[in-house]
């Protein structure tokens, strides 16, 4: 099994994530789609790491995970406070700022 498949899989995951952001309404789901994109990147890093035979990529993946975790904290905080005020997690309801 060539590592290329991992790359293809990563690309597919990334695409699913990227498109998911567009089609889902729930802020949490939206956010998870973004996490999916990050993980697609992780998979790519690891795959390339394997292809090139260096460890850099894998180490980078760890960094990314940490960053993603931090992002979750921030993101959930923001989403929570909005949810409290609006009783809705739909991103389409946050639509005061426009034009």
């Amino acid at each position: 099994m060539t590592p290329d498949y991992y790359l293809v899989l990563a690309a597919i995951l990334f695409t699913i994530g990227a498109v998911g952001v567009l089609v889902r309404r729930n802020a949490i789901v939206l956010f998870m789609c973004i996490e999916l994109m990050l993980n697609a990147a992780n998979l790519t890093l690891v795959a390339f790491s394997r292809i090139t035979g260096t460890l850099d990529g894998q180490i980078m993946a760890f960094f990314v995970m940490v960053v993603a975790a931090a992002e979750v904290v921030i993101g959930l905080a923001i989403i929570m406070s909005i949810f409290r005020a609006r009783r809705s997690a739909s991103v389409d309801d946050s639509n005061l700022l426009k034009y």
Binding site: A18, I34, A41, N42, T52, E71, I78, S81, N95
Partner: protein, 510 residues
């Protein structure tokens, strides 16, 4: 077991970043242990003092040209200059952030966790002292920016990007008034920012695959010699660029800008408009000039097109804006376009002119938002343009200052805005990119109109009954506006020192 060879670390060169990180952590501790009443002054002094200390270190290290901690960070002319700029603009922003005399408790919410519209929330809006976590947050963002512009590999850059972005997302949500807007801005900024980071990261991954490493020099060498598929290179470059272009608000990645600028607390908007822009362009310059110099002929047309698009979007959309903060947001988009013109010039003048522009624009925009924060009525800031009618009659000094700033944005000579445009366009013509200059000139004509409309509003329209009163600014806002205006004037009249400085600072280490 082999000896672990720790990479050499030039602590002195890194000291500004380290100082700020330290100060930020200290700020968190202060938040935890200092008594509530003492927190505000302590945090303020800490943040500003830390920034000043970092600035001093930058100045002391001004001649350092080094790549340190295992090629992760490059301290060279551009990064030192940009760090200095970020720190200077950051200090001024901190002055705006720290202002508490404009309304009871300051512009920030006391308890961000309280539900909007609840009884407690209404009570806290009446004047509970604002929260002080904003200072560590801002300092974290600043330290991320310092690292961002100095990052010599893409991973460091990614980390720095997140370090600077995450606090900003939060800062956006912390407005005392109009909290729904503020939270919405934060949500939008957060979601779209993460989205862009994901693109950035995927680009990093692809480039890692292409070059076998993420160090900028490594990529540069790979561009010349790599046997790997060019698709990896170009797709990687494209995705990387998207992440960076998002941060600098280039079209079509500008969409967040107007909403976030409008919704965020004005001092934070100012901070973002000035410092984030510097950081974003700093990183963009480094990536394009250091890592991808070998494919400059390929990316020039693409970035050039984006520049044109950005200028058009910014200027055309500014024409019909009714809210002063949104107008300034579109102006910031247009200015991103002009800055991109300098970036695309792809020569030393391109770097130096972009550096100059960033500093000049930063000061002007800080002063502008500082003024915006002063025009208030009972509901807080009165940002709708129609409310500014006749302001010149009520408070001529403020209106005169804002007029001057608008003229600077419009690029009238004897303001920094003119010199900035001049050097950027000059670099572009020098780099053979005259078409960008033509686009720049045409859009400058268009965007002059909204600026002029503001001036007309202030001076030539009759004041309405409801024209907001202008609050007497505290010393910090006064200082911030004064510094901004002074810099705008000084850089327009005697730009030579800064021009020389940018010229000296315009070489990247490789």
């Amino acid at each position: 077991m082999e000896d672990l060879n720790l990479p050499p670390i030039d602590y002195a060169a890194l000291s500004p970043i380290l100082i700020l990180f330290g100060v930020a952590c200290l700020g968190v501790l202060v938040e935890a242990f200092a008594p509530r009443r003492a927190r505000h002054p302590v945090q303020l002094v800490l943040a500003i003092g830390g920034s000043v200390a970092a600035l001093v270190m930058v100045v002391l290290e001004r001649n350092t040209r080094v790549v340190t901690i295992g090629d992760a960070v490059a301290i060279d002319g551009p990064s030192l200059f940009l760090q200095g700029a970020i720190l200077l603009l950051g200090i001024v922003s901190l002055l705006l952030i720290g202002e508490r005399s404009l309304e009871a408790g300051g512009p920030f919410v006391a308890q961000a966790a309280l539900t909007v519209g609840s009884e407690k929330d209404n009570r806290q809006a009446q004047g509970a002292p604002g929260n002080t976590e904003i200072y560590p947050l801002a300092v974290f963002a600043l330290s991320g920016m310092l690292l961002f512009v100095a990052a010599n590999d893409l991973l460091t850059m990614f980390i720095a990007l997140e370090v600077l972005s995450l606090p900003l997302y939060l800062l956006c949500a912390l407005a005392r008034r109009k909290r729904l807007l503020s939270q919405e801005a934060a949500l939008k900024y957060f979601l779209l920012g993460s989205y862009a980071s994901a693109f950035f990261l995927f680009g990093v991954a692809l480039l890692y695959g292409y070059a076998g490493g993420v160090n900028l020099q490594q990529i540069n060498e790979a561009v010349a010699a790599s046997q790997n598929s060019d698709i990896l290179l170009y797709a990687g470059l494209a995705l990387l660029a998207i992440g960076l272009l998002f941060k600098v608000a280039a079209a079509p990645f500008h969409v967040w800008t107007p909403d976030v600028y409008q919704g965020a607390p004005t001092p934070v908007t100012a901070f973002m408009a000035a410092c984030t822009k510097v950081a974003g362009f700093g990183a963009l310059l480094r990536v394009l000039y250091v890592a991808f110099e070998g494919v400059q002929w390929d990316y020039q047309p693409v970035i050039g097109t984006i520049a044109v698009l950005t200028m058009i979007v910014g200027s055309v959309l500014a024409v019909t804006q009714q809210d002063i903060k949104r107008l300034l947001a579109y102006s910031s988009i247009a200015n991103a376009g002009y800055l991109l013109v300098g970036v695309v010039a792809q020569n030393r003048e391109g770097v130096s002119s972009t550096l100059f522009y960033l500093v000049a624009y930063g000061f002007t925009v800080l002063a502008a938002f500082g003024v915006v924060s002063l025009v208030r009525d009972a509901d807080g800031e009165a940002t709708h343009l129609s409310r500014w009618a006749g302001l010149g009659r009520r408070s001529p000094l403020l209106a005169a200052i804002f007029t001057f700033l608008m003229l600077a944005f419009a690029g009238i000579p004897l303001t920094s805005g003119f010199i900035s445009k001049f050097v950027v366009f000059g670099a572009a013509i020098d780099g053979g990119q005259s078409w960008l200059v033509v686009a720049g000139v045409v859009t400058s004509m268009i965007i002059a109109f909204p600026y002029l409309r503001v001036i007309v509003m202030m001076w030539l329209s009759e004041p309405a009954e409801t024209t907001p009163t202008v609050s007497v600014p505290g010393w910090m806002t006064s200082a911030a506006v004064f510094i901004g205006v002074l810099a705008t004037l000084a850089l327009g009249v005697v730009p030579s020192p800064l021009l020389d400085l940018t010229n000296d600072a315009s070489l990247f280490v490789r």
